[in-house]
């Protein structure tokens, strides 16, 4: 079941979104639980209270309360919720784009676009299901791919850097790990002889290094640079072309 929050000060919009979601839920055969909020504060309170949402539809120019501030507060408490901005506003602030937003929906909401964005959100959520398996000391281990930020190779050892808490290691070759993950749905990119990075944790890149979502910086080697650039570019393009 998916938990969805809708936050907009116009009841017309919230009802419209709820109706869309109901139809889509039926069409896709998914159970949805929707919570409606008419102010950013109310939504923030819920999230502070520990409630987690898979998808949040957020109006960024509500009358009382700053939508942007609400978005920032939400991101701080929950990194994984998918944010979808809903807005009738023509001009956007750069800050909005920094918070890892899935998409923008412009008002009046086009049902076709709403469905496309929703399906993309579903795809993202389903990614949680992919695992990476490896052997170490006669035991088999399984880690969720979306939990892995990057692989680092040091000598014959491979170190898995996880999103939360620490690292794990095992013996192997990075190129084999790369081949294994190539068959999967989550892109891992080889930026350097010793690094294999999960695309979804890359926050930004420059010519010679990438910055991850936790501000770690990893180098891009000249050798792998061109291929990485092209793969990264195609993935970025895929995110926009939704």
């Amino acid at each position: 079941m998916l938990t969805i929050a809708i936050c907009d000060d116009e009841q017309k919009i919230t009802s419209q979104i709820e109706a869309f979601l109901f139809d889509l839920g039926q069409k896709q055969g998914i159970l949805l639980e929707t919570d409606v909020f008419y102010s950013g504060c109310a939504l923030e309170q819920q999230i502070s209270g520990g409630k987690r949402y898979d998808i949040i539809y957020l109006d960024i120019q509500m009358e009382n309360g700053d939508g942007i501030a609400a978005a920032e507060a939400i991101r701080e408490k929950d990194e994984t919720a998918l944010l979808i901005y809903v807005s009738g506003y023509e001009k956007y602030m750069m800050e909005l784009f920094r918070l890892d937003v899935l998409a923008f929906l412009k008002k009046p909401i086009d049902p076709v676009r709403f469905e496309t964005v929703f399906l993309e959100a579903l795809k993202r959520i389903n990614r949680q299901r992919f695992y990476f398996t490896y052997h170490y000391k006669n035991a088999e281990y399984k880690v969720s791919c979306m939990d892995i930020m990057y692989f680092e190779s040091s000598g014959r050892k491979i170190i898995i850097h996880r999103r939360e808490s620490g690292t794990e290691s095992f013996n192997g070759k990075l190129s084999e790990v790369e081949a294994q993950l190539n068959a999967g749905k989550i892109p891992f990119l080889r930026t350097h002889k010793s690094y294999l990075v999960n695309y979804h944790f890359i926050k930004a890149r420059s010519k010679t290094e990438i910055t991850l979502t936790d501000d770690t910086k990893l180098p891009i080697s000249k050798d792998k640079g061109t291929r990485f650039g092209e793969q990264y570019g195609r993935l970025l393009g895929g995110e926009i072309d939704v």
């Binding site: 956007y92 570019g233 393009g237």
Partner: protein, 427 residues
């Protein structure tokens, strides 16, 4: 030994020229491999073999075996220092060897015919064959489509060829009038050197002029786009002002309605609707530069019956220079429009998506195309426009800007759809 030392200058320059010719010729057809032990070693072997050959020739005359060995080393160079391309490479190699062999043989025979003194004519024959081969290699490099077309009028090219001809003349004169044998040999050496310098300098100059021209065209494009953008920016500002006015008028209308004056209200609404009916501006991305360029180009596209499908979401303040943005979108759209306007079988549409993700501005432009896309040897797409020199700078300008932002330009041409993805990483 002293004899050998006397000719050392001449021998070293001959070897240098020999390598120069080989490198020039093969650079025009094949890609060089990265420098490594295995790619540099063949050159060194060729150098050594040439040295031995020159020594041998000086003392005893030509040896067929040595010539064959030399060819073998050239083949090694081709196979290990360059990326060979199959059968074509071997044909080229055969052509190269035969060409050089025939030039040398004919020149030797010619000089032999003039004067049977072997000691004197031998170096002249070698020098003239080297000079002629240098000119030949230069011509080949001009004509191959791997190098960019230099803006060289053909008249000047002919004048340039006078240099090798003149050198051979000087060489003959020196031979006929000179007394000191050693000085003659050194003159020959310097003549070879002059030819090498001339050809090299000339190539570099042409490349320089080509770049200057490119820059000039680029600057022109920029100023034209700036003008365009200024106009459109004005239009957009007017648009926002009108929208603001509209809101005020609607607010006033609301007051009127609440006072239950229906007829007046309907009349006012009709007025407002008529007034704003023509607000047909297409692009509302949130960034005035983006809107400016797209709206401007849409005016042209509309005349060809082309439709734009937009999905744009860009902040107004962006860590990308307006003019860079303008050049990227403008050039991409120009290419797309010229491809789409010729389409007869598919719908005339251009899809444009823009957004900001992972601290990068991403633009995707998709359009159908029905012509054949030509690529030159390095894989760059070539202009289909008749005046090849003035146009074809579109994609190159975009790529240059993408590189400046540590970004990428990705092109896909599958299924009759041309997809351009431009990534500009924000600073």
């Amino acid at each position: 030994m002293f004899e050998t030392a006397k000719y050392l200058l001449y021998v070293s320059i001959s070897i240098f020229a020999y390598l120069w010719v080989t490198k020039r010729f093969w650079d025009s057809f094949l890609e060089r491999k990265k420098n490594s032990v295995s790619s540099v070693l063949p050159w060194l072997l060729l150098c050594a073999s040439q040295f031995l050959m020159q020594l041998q020739i000086f003392r005893h005359g030509t040896s067929l075996w040595l010539a064959l060995f030399n060819s073998l080393f050239i083949l090694l160079v081709v196979l290990f220092s360059y990326q060979p391309t199959g059968l074509e490479t071997y044909f080229l190699f055969a052509f190269f060897c035969i060409m050089w062999g025939s030039v040398e043989l004919s020149l030797y025979s010619l000089f032999r015919f003039i004067d049977t003194d072997y000691q004197a004519t031998r170096p002249m024959a070698t020098v003239s064959s080297l000079i002629l081969m240098m000119a030949f290699a230069y011509l080949v490099s001009l004509l191959s489509n791997k190098t960019e077309k230099a803006p060289l009028p053909s008249r000047l090219a002919f004048v340039l060829l006078l240099v090798p001809v003149g050198s051979i003349y000087i060489m003959i004169v020196q031979y006929l009038t000179g007394n000191h044998y050693f000085l003659s040999i050194s003159v020959f050496a310097i003549l070879i050197l002059f030819n090498m310098i001339t050809f090299d300098v000339y190539t570099k100059l042409s490349r320089f002029f080509l770049h200057e021209k490119e820059n000039a065209v680029h600057e022109e494009q920029l100023s034209m786009l700036s003008k365009n953008m200024e106009e459109q920016k004005k239009l957009m500002d007017e648009f926002y002002e009108e929208k603001h006015n509209l809101i005020n008028e609607l607010t006033a209308l609301r007051v009127g309605l609440s006072q239950e004056n229906k007829e007046d209200a309907v009349k006012n609404l009709d007025q407002i609707i008529d007034c704003y009916h023509d607000m047909g501006l297409l692009s509302t991305s949130g960034n005035s530069t983006v809107d400016a360029v797209i709206n401007a180009k849409y005016a042209t596209a509309k005349e060809y019956g082309i439709v734009f499908r937009l999905q744009l979401c860009v902040p107004e303040t962006l860590a990308v220079e307006s003019r860079d943005l303008g050049v990227v979108i403008g050039n991409a759209l120009d290419n797309a429009i010229s491809a789409v306007k010729e389409c007869e079988l598919t719908e005339k549409v251009i899809h444009i998506s823009m957004g900001v993700k992972r601290n990068a501005l991403v633009m995707i432009m998709k359009n159908p195309y029905e012509h054949t896309i030509k690529k030159n040897r390095s894989g760059d797409i070539q202009s289909t426009k008749p005046e090849k020199r003035k146009h074809g700078y579109g994609l190159r300008s975009i790529r240059r800007i993408a590189e400046a932002y540590a970004g990428d330009l990705i092109i896909d041409t599958e299924n009759g759809w041309f997809t351009l993805t431009v990534i500009l990483n924000l600073r």
